[in-house]
């Protein structure tokens, strides 16, 4: 198996997310043993944000890191386990609500592909960037 970041890179649909992880300086952390649960927005999800949104964040790594950390949970949690609780605390600190089990929805994003196993955690591929609040 590969790590979370290696898996994401091989998938070819997370170019923006991976660039953002580098810009925010989170690569080392995400390459660590973890384990982590990552809700990974596809490139189209970032492209769907109004112009300038991503650029402002990329220019400001601590702020970008905060938004990215909202997509990460501590521990490797598969879909089955995630839907058993109404919300989970993200590494950012704010809770991520699990809104629906079927179709599987995390906050206002739909999980396109759940439970992608990795060496140091699990990836759930989502169709929208999720934001705290």
């Amino acid at each position: 198996m590969a790590t979370i970041l290696e898996t994401a890179a091989a998938a070819g649909m997370f170019t923006t997310l991976l660039a953002a992880v580098d810009a925010a300086g989170l690569r080392t952390a995400l390459e660590g043993p973890g384990p982590f649960t990552v809700f990974a927005p596809v490139d189209e999800a970032f492209a769907g944000l109004p112009p300038g949104t991503v650029q402002t964040l990329v220019d400001n790594p601590p702020q970008l890191a905060r938004i990215l950390k909202y997509h990460v949970l501590s521990g490797a949690h598969r879909r089955e386990e995630l839907v058993s609780r109404p919300e989970w605390e993200s590494l950012e600190g704010a809770p991520i609500p699990i809104r629906r089990a079927d179709p599987f929805e995390v906050k206002n994003a739909t999980v396109i592909n759940p439970d992608v196993p990795c060496d140091n955690g699990v990836i759930h591929i989502i169709n929208r960037v999720i934001l705290p609040g």
Partner: protein, 420 residues
Amino acid sequence: MKPSTHRFADVIHRLEAGGSMLPDTPENLQQIIGIYKAYAVPMDFYWRDLLYIAEQVFLQPLPAFKYVISQAYLDRPNSYAGAQSKLPIWRGTEKAHPELLAFMERGETRPMPKILHHLWHDRVNMEFAEACMQAMFWHQGMGGRFNDYLESEAYRINADRAIKAYFQGNLVMLGLYKLFPDMFLEQVRQLSYYANLGLFWEVMAPVFFEMSDLYDEGKLTSVPQAMDFLVNGIFAVAGRPIYHHVFIRGECFEIIPKGEGFTWLYEAALPYVEAVFYRTSPFRGTKSYNAQADQVPADQAEFHYGILYADVYPVGSAGIPPTLLMQDMLHFLPPYLQAMYRTHKRGEEDQLIQLGITFQRSMYNVTSAVIQALRCALLYPLDDTDPEHLLANRQFFEAQMDRFLRPEARLADIQTSDYR
């Protein structure tokens, strides 16, 4: 989905169709754009002076000249205007707006030294900006993590370093600090809110200038377009850092470092809207309230003295914050708004009231932009096909409209053109 049965169902359906709380009419568009322009010019002074006070005046015990801003801060490049900007929202100048500089030179009277303009009170009313800052400072706890950080040990250590550096060699002030450390710390917390609001308004001034220019060019033709421009602006700068740096004898003290990760949207914009548009506090000299008879809510979250609830007529009295703003905007009204006010009510005699009500309309549009931005960030697209998603959007809009059910709210009034 069935139609909403909410009292403001018409407004909710309009929001669901991508509209604003303010009806889309050519006159509404003209009013709000005109007042955005008139608001942006003094705002260009507010943000500069707020940062000047937070970063330079700092703990000056007798800050008599805090409104006499330095040339460096008048020239300070706006991060969102001009060719130097990485994200130029307004194509105009990054330095202080020319109309602002002309007004500072001449005032309502005639050209004279700054200090005389200041003493004659012929100047931009910074007291309004400070009242907004105080509303944010006083209400606190309106989302975001700014306030928690102000209470943290890290903040105390950073503030302590700055306080000791600022009063270096001043035994009286250092002695007072030793005796009353929390008093000084509280002052620094307030100064952090000066920085917060300054950084917030630094964005809004170019946003409003650009909207005015687009309108003049015929490129902004409807109220929803004006709202969408604001929604896009909110997203574009959402991740801007909110911080507080102080410059003491040339050295920068990071009281709130950018590295804390505080953002424009969460730590400034949303608390600002809550504190200033919705809550604020009763203004002195407008009306008497009996708190013991529950005329003032016990819960701060229930405060409803902001522009969205204001009865503009009594707040048109001298010296209170909204009137100070009205007076500031009066100096920079575009000619088309002046002409409009002359043809209604008492013409020039009650321009301040008329522009106050225009301002209220315009802030309902800004609030609509905030509501739509939150819907976009936290919920679902308006054209989503999943009925549960549409229901979640409906419930969100209805919950927002619930805040305008109280009798003081002006949402019903702004639906008609005869409210002036």
